[in-house]
């Protein structure tokens, strides 16, 4: 298993630069997910690692070798495509064997590898079938099988689950995770779905406009987003964000937003920043219905309640900015109707610089 190392990777199409010098170190056996909105350069980055796109600038290493000018087939990587790219004229076994045959692998070895891989993926009974006769999930497995049989140093996944329906996607997500545990192959996975990123990744790379916004474990990104973009992208529903001005009070700093005061006990580092314009970020999950010692209170008027079952989403607003809270129902929603204030622990309140969008204060 090899690591993948990107140093100052740039991609240009003519005069248009779409990836602006990315640095990324992917350790052997790591599962890294590149996530971001469409057009953020994540697919292009993956395709540069695969060798399907030329690297305009910078250096790509897989293991020890510099790969910038190495043909895709010699990079020891395998890729799972969004539309699977299964050859419709070949059956499952031949689809998986395609690459091995091209590489003139001995026949008995091919047969053995296919058999093993089919067993791992539960495809043994389907080896004779054509892709057209398989379900979406089975096709997805064949596409992975085709990558696995090559025993590559790195797996590349290009939005492999986006063609599946929601239920299958959840199921296949778990399967990919299991497979990675079992095979331990370094994996780079591209998706625009932050839930997929959160569930699969050892580390997530959030990208926007051809730049890396933040790299970190799923929990790091969730708890400490580096900027408003990451804050808004990771988590569902996204983090509530609204503008506020910092003020000082006897009890500590206060964020003042359109008449709503939010106490920021404990965030002492902010003392002395009075008058600074900030963006306040509060995760819907961090909102509580009842006050505890030291919690900040946000008075609200309820707009709407969406019931999800064990949880409910309370839609309200701070000033004229929508604000969503995710609270537990304990099986009934009657008590939610009369809610007139929400509470949040001060350390859960994130502050971002209004101009740069970068996170302020607390943990780096």
């Amino acid at each position: 298993m090899s690591g993948v190392f990107l140093e100052g990777i740039v991609k240009r199409y003519g005069a248009v630069e779409v990836v602006h010098g990315i640095d990324l170190e992917i350790q052997p056996q790591e599962f890294v997910v590149l996530v971001g909105p469409s057009g953020c350069g994540k697919s292009t980055t993956l395709r540069m690692i695969a060798g399907l796109e030329e690297i305009s600038d910078g250096e790509l290493r897989i293991g020890e070798r510099v790969m910038n000018r190495v043909a895709p087939k010699d990079r020891d990587v395998a890729m799972v495509f969004q539309n699977y790219a299964l050859y419709p004229h070949l059956n499952v076994a031949d689809n998986m064997a395609f690459g091995l045959r091209i590489r003139k692998t001995p026949k008995d070895e091919i047969a053995k590898t296919i058999e093993e891989t089919a067993k791992i993926l539960g495809l043994t009974e389907y080896l004779e079938r054509r892709p057209a006769d398989l379900s979406g999930g089975q096709r997805q497995r064949v596409a992975m099988g085709r990558a696995i049989v090559r025993h590559p140093a790195v797996f590349l996944f290009d939005e492999p689950l986006s063609n599946l329906d929601a239920k299958l996607r959840t199921q296949m997500r778990a399967e990919i995770k299991r497979l990675h545990k079992r095979l331990g192959v370094t994996s780079v996975y591209v998706t625009h779905d932050q839930v997929e990123a959160m569930t699969l990744a050892d580390r997530i790379v959030v990208m926007a406009d051809g730049n890396i916004e933040q790299i970190g474990t799923p929990m790091e990104l969730f708890n400490n987003p580096a900027n408003t973009f990451v804050a808004g992208f990771i988590g569902s529903p996204p983090m509530n964000q609204f503008e506020a001005t910092l003020e000082d009070s006897d009890a500590g700093p206060i964020a003042h937003a359109n008449g709503t005061m939010i106490q920021l006990h404990g965030q002492e580092a902010l003392r002395g920043s009075a008058g600074r314009d900030v963006i306040v970020g509060i995760r819907p999950e961090h909102v509580m219905l009842s006050a505890e010692a030291g919690t900040a209170e946000i008075p609200i008027s309820l707009d709407l309640i969406e019931t999800l079952g064990s949880e409910a989403l309370l839609h309200t607003h701070v000033g004229d900015v929508p604000f969503v809270a995710k609270v537990e129902t304990h099986g009934e929603i009657g008590h939610l109707q009369g809610v007139s204030a929400l509470h949040v622990k001060p350390e859960r309140v994130k502050l971002f610089d209004k101009d740069s969008g970068r996170a302020l204060g607390q943990v780096a």
Partner: protein, 293 residues
Amino acid sequence: MRNMNLYSRGDKFFVYATMVLVGVFTISTLYPFIYIAAMSFSSGFAARAGTVVLAPIDLTLAAYERVMSEPAFWNSYRNTFIYTFGGTLTSLLLVIPGAYALSRPNLWGRRFWNLLVAFTMWFNAGMIPIWLNFRDLGLLDSYFGIIIGFALNAFNVILLRNFFESIPDSFQEAARMDGANEFQILWKVFVPLSKPALATITLFCIVARWNGFFWAMVLLTDEGKIPLQVYLRHTIAALSDDEEFSSTLLTAPYSVETVTAAIIVCSVIPVLMIYPFVQKYFNKGIMLGGVKE
């Protein structure tokens, strides 16, 4: 699905009127073939008297015996097979790799190469320079000249290129990552994926070759090399001019008309035999030809 039972009386009348009109057009399309077939099996006397209308009169195979007794007929038949088979094969060998290359985004100067091909659809040098070109290349009176000289046309190249372009990139990329080179990608991935388009082009080629007449007439003066269509033309012209033939006709069991009809039937039969296959594909082919650059 539309259902006649739900139609008003006026609509029903409209549909029946349409069916009658279509029937008339269809019969008028079919009738000449029936007429020629009937003619070919009729006696020369009946044909000359103009009594053949629908069915053979005085059923006889005399016209066919006369046609088939000519070695030149069989010779031209053989030539047509050579031109059709050789020509179609050559076309495919040139157009498949060529169209594949033109469809690749990583081909430098792709716009230029495509324009070079497409331009020939809009402008051609014309009959005389083309003929002189064949002469100067030493391809007059040559099997090879006919086979290679008409192997390609821009339409077929663009049709196949468009089909190749419609195949998702990921097939090509997956094969490339699997270690396939361009020839392997073409042969093992694109060709199997393009069967309908290739069948369409093959059938277009076969039909065009089988029916090819003008250039064969102009480029081939050696009677031994002419294809069936040219032989047919010569025979029809000769039969109507030939005084001696006309004078023997009074006693012969065939006439100019029956012999002509018999040759026509002989040369149409192969087309009718592949027609069902053609029909299956040309619908698609026409749509593929919604040529767009």
